[in-house]
Amino acid sequence: MTLIKKALTTSIALATASAMAATAQANMSDNEVRIGYLADMSGTYRDLAGPGGLTAMEMAIEDFGGSVNDAPIVVFSADDRNSADVGANTVRGWVDQENVDMVGGLVASSVTIAVTKVIEESNGLALVSGSAASSITNEHCTPNHIHWVYDTYPLANGTAKAVVEQGGDTWFMLTADYAFGHALEGDVTKVVEENGGEIVGGVRHPFPTSDFSSYILQAQSSGAKIVGLANAGADTVNAITTASQFGVTQSGQQLAGLLIFLNDVHAMGLESTQNLLLTTGWYWDMDEQSREWAERYYERMERMPTMVQAGIYSSTMHYLKAVEEAGTDDPETVRAQMAEMPIEDFFARNGSIREDGRMIHDMYLAQVKTPEESTGEWDLYEILSTIPAEEAYRPLSESNCDLVQN
């Protein structure tokens, strides 16, 4: 009896307390800002985003003070196992059961597209940091998500243009034989030809491929100055390693990686990746404020952050600022608020959010250092030039997104 009484009084007290809290933060759903972190925590993209991305998100929340207008910030995290249905299912559960306000992370494009459909249906908000596909803010755009760090358009565009300008005017394309590779190949071909270069040959390899030797030999005998790698992940790593074993770079040809990340270069080592040209959205050693943040990250993870991890910090921080400014966590209001505020932090320079959900910011052309130039384990890139935000991304005039008036 006393137990029941006790339980009753406690629940009444709790109810009163929460009712009081509710009046204090009337505009925060559940009196909490709930953020979900969905990424590949165990597979191919673990090093690109994974647990490090979660750490970056937690750093943003800590730096923000752990609460917005007295509403505590709560993080849920899950592994999407690079599977669209696991990802969509998890997010559906978060939205239905936990009333999650924003979902961040999001790496594999198939997962991201599936998740953004769920988010659009429930009118939530997703901040995409890890995905590469430019279709996410093109034919798959929704008013409910923002694509933060990079996409294939600036990567292909930036790298191809810079390479041709540096005199690499004959290309051999090594393309993964599926939609993503074809799209990347198309983008590169266009840029190369527009800038006066020429595609002298190409070969399509199945996805995935582990033995690249015959393709690399074809590339070598083509006589092209540049071998463009229109593939991703393990395929790119295998192609670069094979090219290094066959002495492609030593014999005067140069590789152009279109989708390659800091963790890939670190894993392969400078011996096989030296002189590789690539475009990146951010590099930890590019200036003082980037280094400062990267050092803090390094203390926790004992790895230097990739651009995706830095982007997760940046997007979470910008989201929290927008929630604070708007005084509510209502997704629509926050989305509008985010677009209104310019983005200028250690990660993004000249950043702004377009109506198609693309966050545009300055991108950088980088070259991988040679083992002699490198001064440490993580001293991997040399930033050659900056690609201004407006030039880097697909212009809105070419967009197929329904949200853009063309």
Binding site: A84, D85, S110, I113, A114, K117
Partner: protein, 330 residues
């Protein structure tokens, strides 16, 4: 006197049989009741996922457990059903979900007939390899085919209205729809296993040359079992696409063919309820672990579980339970 004596013996046996049947029916009834109230106790979308995979595992078990054929390419049927249904429902909005599912299932049946004709000529490991190779063929087809969306997958499949007027957008009504589909699938398997056809399958599993010598056309039986199994896997894939509103390459990947073996062996191969139990355990584990700090250990934990299962309880959880029930209560 003698006639009544002989008449009484079979009647006693029949009575025992009738009692066993009644017990089984009561048991099934209890399970159905649990299935009916479950969405009020747990998250319906999660339960639907379990049901879809349970049906998939049951279809696989029909082949492995009752015909002794280890197919290593069942993902192809799951994915085919899923893609066909997904494509129809997203491209032709006039099609109702049950028609979409039906056509998806038929696609599974058709593919099963083609695979079956090629694969049943071989036995054991060769059979497994042929099915794996054919499934990989389908995987690459799905990557290239324009209607599947390649590695991005097929998205935004509308759940639509069942029979044209019951909206399935509500998770609860969707759950009961999936539950009904599952029961139909399970009933087909139950009926198949306990039919004379099922008895012949078991005979083939136990001793194929003897079945041949008894005059059975072994290949025809195996082919039919393969086609039924493929059709049910297609049904599971179609239903899954409708639930998640997407179809992706994960379903076509050989990992999926491996996962269904894990589910079936864990639950108990050759038992009707084993695959359901196995699917429930594997899906729940993946779901729980994905959201816990152990998230990046999912594959390791599932692998360990598989090793433990194979080493210590080879007939699976339901198989072991059934054994101990027979030992202690009969």
């Amino acid at each position: 006197m003698a006639t009544t004596e002989t008449a009484r013996i079979p009647s006693a046996a029949m009575q025992r049989q009738r009692r066993a049947n009644m017990r089984r029916n009561m048991f099934y009834l209890a399970l159905i009741v649990i299935g009916l109230v479950a969405p009020f106790l747990a998250y319906p979308v999660f339960l639907m996922k379990i049901l879809c995979f349970a049906l998939f595992a049951c279809s696989f078990n029909l082949l492995l457990g009752y015909a002794g054929l280890l197919s290593f390419g069942h993902a192809a049927f799951l994915a085919t059903g899923g893609y066909v249904t997904g494509y129809l429902l997203s491209s032709y909005p006039g099609i109702t979900p049950e028609v979409g599912i039906l056509i998806g299932t038929l696609a599974g049946v058709a593919l099963g007939a083609v695979f079956g004709l090629l694969a049943i000529r071989r036995q054991g490991i060769y059979f497994a390899m042929v099915t794996l190779a054919l499934a990989q063929l389908m995987f690459f087809f799905f990557i290239q085919a324009p209607f599947t969306g390649g590695e991005d997958g097929l998205h935004g499949v509308a759940r639509g209205h069942f029979l044209g007027f019951i909206s399935l957008n509500d998770n609860l009504s969707m759950y009961y729809f999936v539950f009904a589909v599952f029961l139909i699938g399970f009933a087909i398997i139950q009926r198949t296993v306990h039919s004379p056809f099922g008895q012949v399958l078991k005979a083939i599993r136990e001793n194929e040359p003897r079945a041949v010598s008894l005059g059975y056309n072994v290949d025809a039986y195996k082919l039919l079992a393969f086609v039924i199994s493929a059709g049910l896997a297609g049904l599971a894939g179609s239903t899954k696409t409708l639930v998640f509103q997407l179809a992706s390459l994960t379903d076509a990947h050989w990992h999926m063919s491996g996962e269904v073996i894990l589910m079936t062996l864990l639950g108990g191969v050759g038992t009707l309820l084993g695959p359901i139990m196995g699917a429930g355990i594997v899906v729940s584990l993946q779901h729980l672990l994905a959201q816990s700090p152990l998230g990046n250990w999912v594959n390791v934990i599932l692998g360990l579980l598989f090793v433990v299962c194979v080493l210590s309880f080879r007939s699976g959880i339901v198989g072991e339970l059934a054994k101990s029930y027979r030992k202690n209560f009969k």
